[in-house]
């Protein structure tokens, strides 16, 4: 859950030394934030990644300021949650505003630039993406623009760190008072006094005066984007991309596991800890709990590093690529018609796909959805039918030991479940879902540095969030086993676990640990020597079983504790019911 923390606004609003980073969605604000503060913000090539805000320290001329990455907004009319957050920050005041403008799309960006002046906070404008503009044949004269805005304008290519020193210098000069400040005259549209129409006219006129448009040869990316967006071959390409993602994760993951990580864990990591614990601890129960066959320092590494990590790593390798190129919103557009039939819209698909990585940022990210109904349906689909990658990794590892068709069957099952849950939730939840309305960003070649930094951040989060809870869970399981409590539980759960689900009585451990994290509802099954039918039933129960503890906390926070409880209970009931039905049907054929 780290990294997805929702901070209370009030404290930040009160800070006096604020510098606000503001701009349209997808203009590169988060890259400025990372470069200026050294804190890594997860950004993507589509609108709405920073739904909440990030804060960090920006040091300028010996003085520390709080830099705030305000969610991207197209305007300052409070029509969405992101805009409301932006307005609240502006109203709380600040030392300065850094307004990031997209040079390739100046007219629309200038509307926000002009609206900002209403708040009488000194503004530095950065003219970002000048390289993209140049490729599109657009030239913007920064000096003329600065004169029109009566404020400093710095040209930048943030991903390549071009112009960032100049931006720091300009900010420093402005904050020290050595640079001239814009004095609002108070009533012209240029000072943000006019209505929306006047600001729009003004943006149009300024754009005409400061920029020129030449002919541009469509680049390879433009042509590729063009064919990706035509229904033909766009839809087959999209299906191929999704198929490739699965193939890479499953296929390469198995290689990575078998040839690299399993040997590493079995031959290096576990023996290392075994040497330590056998010398430090006397033989007996405690040593067994630590380093015995099912010890904390054996199982947690085997499960997390060898069986789950390869899949998590490969998923984020490809998913981060899809995010940074700007391919995800394209999938939303291509499948809007299908999603509409399911009762939501194409934009919802983006969050659901994020859920295949981790449910927590996906559910928080769905704040950008424009209706409450859409948010609830997205959340329901993620909680009931979308396994997170950590859990998927464990499922792939579990099913890999059986017939080849087991994994495709599980994927098909999860897909059918996804459609069913979305349909049912769409019918049950009252209200309207707004139609699709999104900007489709340019297709970009990701910047290697920010790509790898994002991948690294995600892997760090995963290891931190998975390894320690896994160790604790295994410790709990070991204590349950050693104290005899597990026997007792197994006996009481026997009718359910063995009678109804057809699993060995010890599988009750999976149901207990699965409450903490999703992959733990699968991992214990790996050690149980299950039959094919048992493995499939166990997989189905785990797939549908309740979302993890951090998701529960997010549900309670974002919606209501009642919704969190309702989702948790109904996932448990539905999981046990469906798993049992599959077992009973399977028994008939066995």
């Amino acid at each position: 859950m780290s990294g997805y923390e929702i901070k209370p606004d009030e404290e930040v609003l009160k800070k006096p030394n604020k510098i606000l980073l503001i701009g349209n969605p997808n203009v590169g604000k988060s890259i400025f934030f990372t470069e200026l503060t050294g804190i890594h913000a997860i950004s993507s090539n589509y609108a709405g990644t920073t739904v909440n805000f990030m804060e960090g320290t920006l040091s300028l001329g010996g003085e520390d300021y709080t830099l705030i990455d305000v969610p991207g907004t197209y305007s300052l009319n409070p029509t969405s949650e992101a805009e409301t957050v932006a307005i609240r920050f502006l109203e709380s005041g600040g030392k300065a505003v850094i307004c990031v403008l997209d040079a390739s799309n100046l007219e629309r960006n200038l509307q926000l630039a002009l609206e900002l002046r209403r708040y009488k906070i000194p503004i530095v404008y950065t003219l970002n993406l000048v390289d993209v503009a140049k490729r599109q044949g657009v030239a913007v004269n920064a000096q003329l623009l600065a004169a029109e805005l009566s404020a400093p304008v710095v040209e930048t290519v943030a991903v390549k760190r071009v112009g960032l020193d100049a931006l720091r210098q300009t900010l420093e000069d402005m904050l020290e008072g050595s640079a001239p400040l814009h004095q609002p005259c108070g009533n012209c549209p240029g000072c943000g006094r006019g209505g929306a129409e006047e600001i729009w006219e003004s943006a149009k006129e300024i754009t005409a005066r400061v920029s020129s448009r030449g002919e541009a040869e469509p680049s390879f990316a433009d042509k590729l984007s063009e064919s990706m967006m035509r229904p033909m071959p766009g839809i087959p390409i999209a299906l191929l991309v999704i198929g490739l993602v699965i193939a890479v994760v499953v296929g390469l993951g198995e290689l990575l596991r078998g040839y690299l990580l399993e040997p590493l864990v079995d031959e290096v990591i576990v023996p290392f800890f075994r040497r330590i614990f056998t010398t430090v601890l006397p033989e007996g129960v405690v040593q067994d709990i630590m380093i015995g066959e099912f010890g904390v320092f054996v199982i947690s590494f085997e499960w997390i590093l060898a069986l789950i990590l390869p899949y998590v790593f490969l998923f984020y390798v490809v998913f981060t690529l899809l995010e940074d190129t700007g391919y995800l919103p394209r999938i939303s557009v291509l499948f809007d018609n299908v999603m509409r039939k399911l009762g939501v819209q194409g934009g919802s698909l983006m969050y659901m796909l994020m859920g295949y990585g981790c449910a927590a940022p996906a559910i928080i990210g769905s704040r950008a959805a424009t209706s409450r109904k859409e948010r609830i349906v997205i959340t329901a689909a993620i909680c009931f039918a979308v396994p997170c990658i950590s859990q998927s990794g464990a499922l792939i590892s579990l099913l890999a030991g059986y017939a080849w068709w087991m994994l495709p069957a599980m994927i098909l099952f999860s897909f059918a479940l996804f459609v069913a849950v979305t349909l049912v939730a769409g019918k049950l939840v009252k209200g309207q879902v707004d139609p699709l309305l999104i900007e489709v960003p340019n297709l970009l070649v990701p910047n290697p540095k920010s790509y790898f930094r994002k991948l690294l951040t995600r892997m760090k989060h995963f290891l931190k969030d998975a390894e320690v809870p896994m160790m604790i869970a295994i410790l709990i399981a070991a204590i349950l086993a050693e104290s005899g409590l597990l026997r007792l539980l197994a006996v009481h759960a026997q009718p359910l676990v063995s009678g109804w689900l057809g699993l060995p009585a010890d599988a009750v451990v999976a149901l207990i640990l699965g409450i903490v994290r999703r992959e733990m509802s699968v991992a214990p099954l790996l050690a149980l020597d299950l039959s094919a039918l048992q493995a499939f039933v166990g997989g189905v129960v785990s797939l549908m079983y309740l979302p993890c503890l951090s998701v529960f906390a997010i549900l309670a926070k974002e919606f209501h504790i009642r919704i969190a409880l309702a989702i948790t209970l109904s996932t448990i009931v539905l999981a046990l019911f469906t798993g049992g039905v599959i077992n009973q049907i399977g028994q008939l054929f066995a």
């Binding site: 907004t73 197209y74 029509t79 799309n105 629309r108 509307q111 919103p329 819209q345 699709l436 900007e439």
Partner: protein
């Protein structure tokens, strides 16, 4: 010469049009779509899918069917 007013959802692709009227949805204006904005439909998606527009030759916006049918456009005079 004035030309006929058409629904954005029905117009031919790759032909320049000008927005004549549009529903009162804040985000449309924020995305740069107003009366007088020049647009071109690049793609239309079957089975109730959206239309993909190029706006002012600068950026792409996808608009769901239920909004697109409420936007009317007229042909841009070619000159």
């Amino acid at each position: 010469m004035s030309s006929a007013v058409l629904s954005l959802y029905d117009v031919q692709t790759s032909v320049p049009f000008t927005v004549a009227s549009l529903p009162d949805i804040g985000l449309l204006g924020s995305l740069g779509l107003r009366v007088g904005t020049r647009i071109k439909v690049e793609n239309r998606y079957a089975l109730g899918g959206p239309v993909l527009l190029k706006v002012e030759d600068a950026f792409a916006v996808a608009i769901g069917k239920d909004i697109a049918t409420q936007i009317s456009v007229c042909e841009t005079a070619r000159g």
